[in-house]
Symmetry: C2
Subunit: 163 residues, 2 copies
């Protein structure tokens, strides 16, 4: 019932707004993953994907690859080690480096996710974005409205294709 001030302020609140949309997308992605019985957090996904794509990585390279700080990468990687999805060991030539690899279980999870989750998620997000065009702020508005109307988990929706 109250005006959405962040939306109304346009460029002035662009940062707040993008962060907010990102969190909303992450939450809905999590819901989609839960519904497919993928047993990890949505936010952990990029780390697994990074090692899958790029091969074994050091902690710092992982941080760069997913765009977080080094302490953030240390902690997130530690969680994945605890979950049995990452293996960590010191570098042979340089003992300071800690090399992260996917365990068999981690690789299996990525493989399953690539089959089950990625196509579904790709289609859902692509559907959400399919009618966006024009200036950024307008696309953000349409994106928010799209999420209001049909959450990610219900997409691609059979609704309202052009008649």
């Amino acid at each position: 019932m109250v005006e959405d001030v962040v939306r109304a302020m346009g460029h002035l609140c662009l940062g707040t707004r993008m962060k907010r949309i990102g969190e909303r997308l992450q939450a809905q992605t999590q819901a989609l993953m839960d519904s497919l019985d993928v047993p990890i957090q949505a936010a952990q996904y990029p780390l697994l994907a990074a090692v899958d794509r790029l091969g074994p990585l050091t902690v710092s390279d992982l941080a760069d690859a997913v765009g977080i700080s080094q302490p953030g990468a240390t902690r997130a990687a530690g969680q994945l080690v605890k979950l049995g999805l990452f293996d960590i060991q010191s570098g042979q030539d340089d003992q300071r480096r800690r090399i992260l690899t996917l365990t068999a279980q981690g690789q299996q999870l990525v493989d399953v996710a690539r089959q089950l989750v990625w196509p579904r998620l790709e289609a859902s997000v692509a559907d959400l974005c399919s009618n966006l065009s024009g200036p950024l702020l307008g696309q953000l508005t349409d994106l928010e409205d799209g999420l209001d109307e049909v959450p990610l988990i219900a997409r691609p929706a059979s609704k309202r294709r052009q008649p």
Copy 2:
């Protein structure tokens, strides 16, 4: 030196990416505000603006206006009360409601910010977004590249206008 996996995965990491860009914009907005000696956090700004725009608000209405959870609004409003920028008092008719208003100091800060910060920030962000067009993912890439090249605080830049 490492591939940006979040960027490379496109729709699959859209949430992570938008959140990341939002945080980056907020951090740079903070730097701009610091340089102008505005003594609050960038993230607190939308709350002040909401009460300025909409008049006295309850905690829940404030949460709706800026798109955060009710506990988030309770805490953020409490901080602003501590800073002397918000006044809080129970509703007359309904003692459950807590009504937030701008103090004289809060109003003054908004007024000053409206003169000093908003035009500058509006121009900087507009400059950042000025050459964006096309699909959302491409605009995000250009936006990230733009922030890499010239931070918000150095905009509008005299660089590289079309010759």
